[in-house]
């Protein structure tokens, strides 16, 4: 059952301070409203995975591993691969996660990452079928939060995308219904680089990339995913408040611009 979360851990004073700053266009860590914190991308850190990446956005740290294994296709897409995203809110990432964090947060996170990738057709699933209707490659994308200091959605998606862009797929043969995996590898076929951009509404102001203190002070959150062609491929509002229609329209515009920068960053890091 979805339940209103506690917010006791931030002092009201700090919250008021952040809202007050926001009204002047300022932020607690001195960023401009439309600035991200520093984004750091490392790939290839888990040799046993087909692909992996760690993305740090400021103090937030997420590691993603991609494993590709043979499995069964879904009945309604017999000729396609399967994409599956799983998010783990490991308890070392935040003091509140120990209490058994509302499972809904990790489910929502994994579904947002999944939608960004799926709706933009980021992975070319049509190239992952082994035997139509019987065997296909399953791409497991496991998100592992290591340090939660705000904006897990963007950090997780960037890490997932970076891990996928550096993932290798083993070549194979099918002989007498047996799958024979070979040693040489090809890059995982990719179509698109969807980039989610997350806004926090603090007071009357929209801010990009909220840190954890800002997340506690924000009234609502909006994530806009933008694909290679500057189209919107995914959106998600979160939080106890709402947005005016004009705020949403302007957020979409900002996201289209901002996503170009971040896409460039990821392409460079995964080249």
């Amino acid at each position: 059952m979805s339940t209103t979360p506690h917010s006791s851990e931030i002092l009201t004073l700090e919250r008021d301070h952040i809202i007050d700053l926001a009204s002047k266009g300022k932020r607690i860590d001195n960023r401009a409203p439309m600035d991200y914190r520093e984004i750091k991308i490392q790939t290839g850190i888990i040799e046993k995975a087909n692909g992996s990446a760690q993305v740090d956005i400021g103090q937030t740290k997420v590691i993603v591993g991609v494993k590709i294994e043979a499995g069964t296709p879904f009945p309604d897409t017999p000729n396609e691969g399967v994409q599956t995203v799983n998010a783990e809110f490991t308890p070392l990432a935040h003091p509140t996660f120990e209490l058994g964090p509302p499972q809904e947060n990790s489910i929502e996170l994994s579904r947002i990452v999944d939608r960004n990738l799926r709706e933009s057709k980021a992975i070319d699933l049509t190239k992952l079928c082994i035997v139509p209707g019987k065997k296909t490659f399953v791409v497991f994308i496991d998100l592992n939060m290591l340090d939660h200091y705000g904006n897990l959605i963007d950090a997780s998606t960037y890490a997932a995308l970076s891990a996928l862009l550096t993932s290798k797929l083993n070549e194979y043969e099918v002989k007498h219904d047996e799958l024979i995996i070979k040693d040489n590898q090809q890059p995982l076929p990719m179509n698109d680089y969807p980039i989610p951009i997350t806004f926090a509404k603090i007071g009357k102001t929209l801010m990009l990339d909220p840190n954890i203190q800002e997340e506690h002070a924000m009234s609502a959150r909006l994530t806009v995913g933008i694909d290679n062609e500057d189209c919107v491929c995914a959106m998600q509002k979160g939080g106890l408040g709402g947005f005016e229609p004009s705020e949403i329209e302007s957020a979409v515009e900002t996201a289209i611009q901002k996503s170009k920068e971040i896409r460039k960053l990821i392409i460079e890091a995964t080249r």
Binding site: M1, S2, T3, T4, H6, S8, L99, Q103, E104, I107, E108, S110, R111, R115, R118, E119, S120, L222, D227, E229, D230, C231, V232, C233, A234, M235, Q236, K237, G238, G239, L240, G241, G242, F243, E244, P245, I248, E249, V252, E253, I256
Partner: protein
């Protein structure tokens, strides 16, 4: 999916809603309840509270907690749904709760809980929106103080056409789906999700069509609530019988 005359498979125009039936106060035990039929969608919502909250660590000292469970009946879908809650239902429960939260004057009842239970008896596309519409009425029926009712409507793109209030078949073959919820008087969007592919222009068009849909449904909500109050003041008998068991 759209014929020469611009009509949809079920004969609707692109900006035409499905027929909607709203009933308020349909359950006996629940403190508030409502029922919505929107096309083949059939959804019933019961609200309990404000009431004591268990376990105690869920207490919020300066407001009521809101809990929300969206559940699809096993027989509600083409293929039987397993009774265990799916990840999809968990996420929808959350976005529905967050769509309703801004409308509830929860600070009036600190340290209590308001429970919203949604049973989707038949699902035919757009059930999260229909659930919000009914749940908001059920909250009102329970006497929970609200800033205003929350309306909700989805828009999608099918074969390049932007159309409102998709049903299952359209949803399945559609290229994008954009459900929103709106507090019309506050001009506040309390739910927005999107998946698919929309250019900025298409998004703006779809978004405005969804806002328009919300406003139409908002009127139906207000009518339903008025009917309920009228009925209650007319029929003393029914009112008495309800009080007797409370």
């Amino acid at each position: 999916m759209i014929d020469d005359k611009g009509l949809r498979l079920d004969g609707r125009r692109p900006d035409e809603l499905r027929s909607i039936k709203l009933q308020v106060g349909v359950l006996h035990n629940a403190n508030g309840s409502a029922y919505i039929e929107q096309g083949k969608n059939k959804i019933i919502v019961g609200v309990y509270g404000p009431r004591e909250i268990h376990p105690k660590h869920l207490i919020i000292s300066d407001r009521a907690a809101i809990r929300c469970r969206y559940r699809m009946a096993p027989f509600s879908t083409d293929e039987r749904k397993h009774p265990a809650p799916s990840r999809r239902e968990v996420e929808i429960s959350k976005v529905i709760r967050e769509a309703l939260e801004p409308s509830v004057l929860s600070e009036y009842y600190p340290r209590t809980v308001i429970d919203i239970f949604i049973e989707a008896l038949q699902c035919d596309g757009g059930t999260r929106c229909a659930s919000i519409v009914a749940a908001s009425l059920a909250l009102a029926d329970a006497g929970i103080p609200l800033k205003e009712l929350v309306s909700s409507c989805s828009v999608g793109k099918v074969k390049g056409h932007v159309i409102v209030d998709l049903y299952d078949l359209e949803d399945k073959y559609g290229e994008a789906d954009l459900p929103i919820a709106l507090m019309p008087n506050h001009n506040l969007v309390t739910l927005i999700q999107m998946d698919g592919k929309l250019s900025k222009e298409e998004f703006d068009k779809a978004f405005n069509m969804a806002l328009e849909g919300c406003r139409k449904i908002s009127n139906l909500q207000n009518d339903a609530l008025k009917r309920k109050y009228k009925l209650e003041s007319d029929t003393e008998t029914s009112k008495d019988s309800k009080e007797e068991v409370k």
